[in-house]
């Protein structure tokens, strides 16, 4: 039988296909160069650069207040946490004493941002595996959070609410009430996510055992956030290096050891419950006080290197600032979670089908402007 195939004129060969830069599953302008044998993935090569805006270079030109605004445009789904990271770096360098009120508000909005980001992820992840209805359920709940943000700071996505030294202005009088309303609403809606998708047999078949990442690989690829925690790598920055008001709250780190797409999915669902619990612990006793401390109009950082890491919805975001003592930084580098998480795509997708690649990519939760700064 084998000899007849070998002797025949049929020749089978691997072929190459361009997935992206415009493709429904890459959620942005990511280009994947796939080498495929029939339906089986042989190689995945991510090609970046389609949305590169040289944010890090632009930072060298800007003052420290201005840098904050650029970070919105990196991981736009956790813009508040990105802003917070830069502000924390600057504040630590200046050794400013930040009022408790600011810390608590930053943490609450940070966790709301995380929930908003995860609900959006849940919606589009469902779409990637073919369940179109999830998208609208996810967006329904995200919309309520965006409304809360809009009322407080005027923006829904790119917030710019943080400034070095505090917050731009105080929260809206309705903020506490509406946040509580949202938590009460979302507690009834999050179980719906499970009934619609998590328990579905087809969904579990698509997710379980797909895109398996071992703990060792997760560490060596620098995976962080839900991707790392889905592989059993305990890496929550909020736990190990608490910032803002996170040292005042108790929460569990969502951790799964399977390392497949389903584990990453469960970690994110679990994180939404934990975020709600964090908000509930803080929302009733936001301390009174100022929302900013006075800084110079022109902030000059002392000479030296400064680093701060925070946990965004996608993982560990590190901000490195090298200052020479002037009003502009000498060098800025962002360690973005998406970049490391994308780098392991080839590792987990090879050997699977095209559908598996899409499912694994969906649970990596990539935001392309975060990778391609």
């Amino acid at each position: 039988m084998d000899t007849t195939i070998a002797n025949s004129n049929f020749k089978s060969e691997e072929y190459f296909i361009n997935m992206g830069p415009q493709h429904p599953a890459t959620h942005g302008v990511l280009r994947l160069l796939l080498t495929i044998d029939g339906e089986i993935i042989k190689k995945v090569e991510p090609d970046l650069g389609y949305i590169h805006r040289s944010i890090e270079k632009m930072c060298e030109r800007d003052s420290y207040q201005q840098i904050v605004h650029l970070t919105d445009r990196m991981d736009y789904l956790s813009s508040h946490i990105n802003n917070e990271a830069v502000c924390l770096t600057v504040e630590n360098a200046l050794q400013l004493e930040i009022p408790d009120r600011v810390k608590v508000i930053r943490t609450i909005i940070g966790e709301l941002t995380r929930i908003a980001s995860h609900t959006l992820w849940w919606g589009v992840m469902g779409m990637d595996v073919g369940a179109l209805t999830t998208y609208f359920y996810g967006f329904r709940d995200r919309e309520m959070i965006n409304d809360i943000f809009e009322e407080t700071c005027g923006a829904r996505l790119t917030m710019n609410y943080n400034i070095p030294g505090g917050l731009m202005f105080d929260i809206h009088p309705n903020f506490v009430k509406r946040t509580k309303e949202f938590i009460a609403h979302f507690k009834t809606k999050l179980p719906e996510y499970d009934t619609l998708l998590t328990g579905n047999v087809i969904f579990q078949k698509r997710m379980k055992g797909v895109g398996v990442l071992t703990k060792e690989d997760a560490i060596s690829f620098g995976a962080s956030g839900p991707v790392g925690r889905g592989s059993g790598y305990s890496c929550d920055v909020r736990k190990y290096h608490p910032y803002s008001a996170l040292d005042k709250v108790t929460f569990n780190e969502a951790l799964k050891t399977e390392g497949d797409s389903f584990a990453r999915y469960q970690v994110r669902i679990q994180e939404m419950w934990e975020s709600m619990s964090i908000i509930e612990q803080l929302i009733d006793n936001i301390p009174e006080g100022d929302v900013q401390v006075a800084t110079n109009a022109v902030i000059k950082l002392p000479k030296g290197e400064f680093y701060q890491k925070v946990e965004t919805a996608r993982g560990e975001l590190g901000v490195y600032i090298n200052s020479t003592g002037t009003k502009n930084p000498y060098r800025v580098k962002f360690r973005s979670p998406g970049f490391s998480n994308l780098s392991l795509l080839n590792h987990i997708a090879v050997g699977g089908k095209i559908g598996d690649l899409v499912a694994s990519m969906a649970t990596l939760d990539l935001v392309i402007p975060d990778i391609d700064r």
Binding site: A25, E39, V129, F136, K205, I354, V358
Partner: protein
């Protein structure tokens, strides 16, 4: 109220009043074909509207509501737009096959409609191999999809077309075998007779356990045959863009689109005829008014169409190897066992008759 529903006879008699018999026959055929074409093009458009409305109800939305009252003219407007659109294509496509493909798909869908008995008399084409005809005709459609995917000269379209090939060929087995199970019970392939048999109780009741199993297999395989979610491997938006019709635009795309909805109607209509008593009313409540049969037929069909839409808007998509596993390792052996079970039940006369 006496409405003559035997359209073949009525039109032939009308035409033979002023032309020779041969010409009258041909004229009647053309007229009936045009009537069916018009009815089902419009029906297809309204199925699209229904799908969009059903999707909206599932997804906390309102659905189309701007064009006409309750959005009733929305799909008409869409069709007008598609008709007026420029037909673009790829430069290196195989022009002849590329242009031929949509017609294969739409013609096979429309041809299958000819044999459905909407009432006892309202049937364009009553042949004694009705079921066989349906299975044969509906499998032509896949040729169109394969041709379209191949001739587009696009790798995404090609993957979609190849998936469609394996999927349709596999699931046709299940559709055929589950219908064959019911044929064992009726003893005839003629659709009008299959409905007549059900005067003593719908076949799903007559054949009880094996009939219910056959119905479930038929609905799964039928959904797969129409290439709809959760079996929409062929298009798989998030994997292949638009699959086999990536390179089609305007009316050629509309043919593929319309064919999908007419196919859905066909699959539901076969199920209505074979399992749920076709035009017969439940317990014979409207037996004295024969033309009401049309409404019973359409009503039952639309319930099943709604069931298929329900699948689509709640289930995720299977992977291509899981799809084949489901067919070859589960549905097919179950189907074969089910045929034996049905044979035993018919042999021992264990059917339920009222």
């Amino acid at each position: 109220m006496n409405i003559s529903l035997n359209i073949t006879k009525t039109i032939t008699e009308l035409l033979s009043g002023f032309m020779p018999e041969g010409a009258a026959n041909i004229g009647a055929m053309v007229t009936i074909a045009l009537i069916y074409l018009a009815i089902f093009a419009v029906a297809g458009l309204y199925l699209v509207l229904l799908e969009r409305k059903v999707a909206a109800w599932f997804q906390l939305r309102l659905g189309p509501n701007r064009v006409g009252p309750w959005g009733l003219l929305q799909t008409m407007a869409d069709a007008l737009k598609l008709v007026s659109k420029e037909l673009t294509g790829t430069v290196k496509a195989d022009k002849f096959l590329y242009n031929l493909a949509p017609y294969f798909v739409i013609v096979s869908s429309l041809m299958a409609l000819a044999v459905f008995p909407f009432t006892k008399e309202f049937q364009a084409f009553d042949i004694n191999i009705g079921i066989f005809f349906l299975i044969a005709i509906s499998s032509i459609g896949v040729i169109g999809i394969l041709l379209g995917g191949w001739a587009s000269n696009n790798k995404f379209a090609l993957i979609g077309a190849m998936r469609s090939g394996v999927q349709t060929i596999s699931y046709e087995l299940s559709v055929g075998l589950s219908l064959l199970t019911m044929v064992l019970l009726t003893g005839t392939l003629q659709l009008s007779e299959i409905v007549e048999v059900q005067k003593n109780g719908w076949l799903i009741v007559q054949g009880h356990i094996p009939a219910i199993i056959a119905f479930m297999i038929y609905m799964i395989a039928g959904t797969a045959e129409t290439n709809r979610a959760p079996f929409d491997m062929v298009e798989a938006e998030s994997e292949l863009g638009a699959g086999f019709h990536t390179e089609y635009s305007g009316m050629k795309f509309a043919y593929f689109f319309l064919a999908e909805f007419i196919n859905m109607f066909i699959i539901a209509a076969i199920a209505t005829t074979v399992f749920f008593g076709g035009w017969l009313s439940p317990f014979g409540i409207t037996e004295s008014i024969p033309w009401l049969g049309v409404f019973w037929f359409i009503g039952k069909t639309f319930l099943l169409v709604f069931l298929m839409m329900w699948f689509r808007w709640t289930f995720p998509r299977l992977r291509v190897d899981q799809l084949l596993t489901l067919e070859w390792k589960y549905l097919l052996p179950l189907n074969l066992l089910n045929i034996i079970l049905m044979a035993v039940i018919v042999w021992l006369n264990l059917t339920i008759q009222f």
